[in-house]
Symmetry: C3
Subunit: 277 residues, 3 copies
C-alpha cells in the first residue's frame, strides 16, 4: 500500500447518474467510496441525466471520459433495470475502467477512437459489495464499492466471472466515421440547444458545399465556429465532441428554433452541387 | 499538527444548503473552509434543498450521513432564522459531528439507529468565526469556519457553552420503527417521484398482505424491487433509506400519479385479511 | 517541483461557467486539469450562469473569489465570443489569478476593495494549450490547460504577450462606494429572489431614514437582518456581498413580488426627511 501511494498516480473516480442533486443518493455513494478509498479524487460528470435515459448518459460519458487520465475509474448509474436480472459489470480498457449496469450505457465510449476492451467481468463477488445489498440502490451498494476497490488497485478479475456479449445501444452503431450517409440522426442535444449529429466531419467529402436539411430548413457548408455567421443564424459546424457535426443557432437555441429532438433524422446532401438535389 | 496528518484520517466536511448553485454563496463557504483547513475533503450532499425547507434538509442528511466515516463533519445551512435569536450549534455524536442552526435540521439524523449524542455546544466563541460576521450569511461567517476548525481537530468544547434542549422536528417522532400504526405520513418525495413513508419495514407484521391506501388507491404487499411489477404499476417496497417503506410507480412518478405531497397521510392496514378492512 | 510540493500551499482552481451540468463539458475541463496538475483542488463556483450572461458571471465571481486564498486560480468560461477575435487572457492580482475570455467577466472582481492587478497576458503560447484546439470549446482546450499550468507554478509571463486595455463591463462602474446617487441599478438577483443594488451601505448618509422607491413601493431604512421585519414584509438591508444594499421579502421573493429584473433602476432618497421628497 505504502509503496503504491508513492509511485502510482492518485486514483480518480468519476460519477454519472440520473439521481439529481436534491436527494442524498449521490452523497451516500461518495461516503461509501471515501470509506474504502480515502485518497480517491471524485469528479462529477453529471447527475442531471434525465431519469432512466441511458442514451443521454452514454453520450455525456463519451464527451468527457477521453480527457481523463487512463487510470480513471468511470462509475455510471443510470439503471432502470435495478433489481431485475440485468448484470452489474466492470470493463477494463486502454483508456479507463468502467463500472455500472450492463444496459449499453458504456457502448458509445467503447466505440470511441483508440479504446480497446481488455477485460470485462460480472460484479458478483460479495467481498466487494456493502454488507447489506438493497434491491433498489445498487449505485450505493454494488457500484460505488466496486469503483472504490478498483481505484485502490484490486485486480478486476477478482470481482467475478468474465462478462461476454455486453449490451450495446443501437445508437453506438450510428457514429458515422466512414461517409456517404444520406441521413444521420440527432444523437444529443446539449444545454445550449445545439444538435449533435451521428455524422462526423471526417465522413464529409465536400465540407464547403455539404447541405443539411432539417424540418424544411437547408443549412449549407461546414463552418468553423459560431462567429462565422450573423447573430441568430443557423449553422452547421465541426463540434467539440470528437469531430461530430453540430447544428446551432448563433447566440440562440437550435433545438427550440427547429423543435428538434434526439432521434430526429437530418438529410445530408454531400455533393458539390447540393442545390440540384 | 505534523503527526496528526500522518496518523489521523483525512478530514471530510459535507455541505447541505438551500443556496442553489447559481450564486457564489456555496463557493464562498468553500473558500473559507480551505483557508482554515486546506486538507479537508469537501463533499456536497445537496444545495438544492427548497428554500428554507428544514424538513427536506433533515431527511436528505438522514439519507446520506450514515455512509460517511464517523470522523466526518456535516455542515447544514438551511436557516430561515438567521439574524434572529436561534442558536448556532455543533453536536458531536458517535457517527459524525454536526454544525448548523438549532432549528431541528439534525433531528432525523440524531434519531437514526446507533447514533448517540456525546456533546452539544453553542457556537459563540468569536475566535472560530470570521473577523466580521454579517447578519444574513452565517453559513460563511460562522458555520463554515466552525466546520473547518472542528475538522482540523479543535475540541468542540472550545466553541462555546453546552447546548441543551435542542430543537426537534415533529417529523423526527414519526419514524415508526415499532409497528401498529393506522396511518403514516409521507416524509419525503425524491427526485424520481418516489414517496418515502415514516413507517419502516421492521414495523410491518404482515409484509405479504399489508395494504396501503392513498388517494383512493389500494396498494397491496411489500415488494422487493420495481421489477416485481409491470411497467407503470404502483407498488410499495422496502426502500434504500434505512428500511423505510416507499411507494413508487415503476418507470414513472408516484408523486405525479397520486398528486401526493409531503405530510399527506397514508392508511396502513397491516392485517392478514386486509380486504375486510 | 518536489520542493515546491512540500513548501507551497496546495493549488486551488475554481471553475465558473454557463455550461450547466447535464453535459460532459465541465467534466472534460476537469479531466484536462487533473492530467496537467493532479494535485489541484477543484472548486465549482457555479455552472448555472444563464447562457452567455457575462454580467451574472462577473457578479457571482465577485461574491466568492475574495474568500479564497490568494494563490487560487479562478477560471471563468462564459464566452459568447469563442472563435471570434476576442482575446483569451490571464490576470495575476494581489488576490488570485484569473483565466478566461477578455469580455469583462473579471471586471467586477478587479474593482473589489484591495485587489491590484500585477500582470495581464494574452494566452497565445501553444505549449500551454491542448494539442488540438477546437474553434468552439476554448474552456477545455485553452483555459483549463492554462489554469492548470498556472496552478502548477508556471510563470504567467510565459503564456504570451502583455494584455492592455482589458474589457470592462459598464456594470463595473456602478459599484457606488462614494455616495450621493439619486438612483442605483439592480446588479444581481439571487436564488432567493433578493435584489442586490449597485449602492453600498458605506455610501448611505442616513441609514435610518434612507428610502428606496421601486415599482411604486417605498422601503424605508437600512435594516440589519430579515428578522427585523414581519413575515412577508419588504425590507432593505446591508447584504453579505461586501456591503452592497439588498432588497428582500422576509421568507419570500422580492424579485417575484416586485417583478424586478437586473438593470432596473431604484430611486434612492438619502435624506433625513425622505417623506418630503
Amino acid at each position: 500500500m505504502h509503496s503504491r501511494l508513492e509511485s502510482a498516480p492518485r486514483p480518480i473516480i468519476t460519477l454519472t447518474t440520473d439521481f439529481g442533486l436534491q436527494d442524498g443518493y449521490v452523497a451516500a455513494m461518495q461516503g461509501v467510496i471515501l470509506g474504502i478509498c480515502p485518497e480517491a479524487r471524485l469528479v462529477h460528470i453529471s447527475h442531471q441525466i434525465p431519469p432512466q435515459d441511458i442514451q443521454t448518459a452514454a453520450f455525456v460519458l463519451y464527451q468527457a471520459f477521453g480527457y481523463f487520465p487512463p487510470h480513471t475509474v468511470h462509475c455510471v448509474v443510470v439503471d432502470p433495470g435495478v433489481g431485475s436480472k440485468r448484470r452489474a459489470i466492470a470493463i477494463r480498457t486502454s483508456h479507463g475502467v468502467f463500472v455500472g449496469p450492463d444496459n449499453g450505457v458504456f457502448s458509445l465510449a467503447l466505440a470511441a477512437p483508440g479504446v480497446n476492451v481488455q477485460e470485462a467481468v460480472i460484479l458478483s463477488n460479495p467481498a466487494y459489495q456493502l454488507g447489506q445489498v438493497s434491491a433498489t440502490f445498487h449505485g450505493r451498494d454494488i457500484f460505488a464499492p466496486a469503483a472504490a476497490h478498483l481505484a485502490r488497485g484490486v485486480s478486476i478479475s477478482r470481482f467475478g466471472p468474465t462478462a461476454i456479449n455486453l449490451v450495446r445501444l443501437p445508437y453506438s452503431h450510428q457514429l458515422d466515421r466512414s461517409g456517404s450517409a444520406d441521413t444521420t440522426p440527432i444523437i444529443h442535444i446539449d444545454h445550449f440547444g445545439n444538435l449533435v449529429l451521428g455524422l462526423t466531419a471526417a465522413a464529409v467529402d465536400h465540407p464547403e458545399e455539404v447541405t443539411f436539411v432539417i424540418k424544411g430548413e437547408r443549412i449549407r457548408g461546414l463552418h468553423r465556429t459560431f462567429a462565422d455567421v450573423p447573430d441568430q443564424a443557423l449553422l452547421a459546424y465541426v463540434g467539440s465532441t470528437y469531430d461530430h457535426v453540430e447544428i446551432a443557432v448563433r447566440n440562440g437555441s437550435a433545438a427550440r428554433r427547429l423543435n428538434a429532438r434526439v432521434g430526429d433524422e437530418v438529410q445530408v446532401i454531400d455533393s458539390p452541387f447540393p442545390e440540384e438535389a
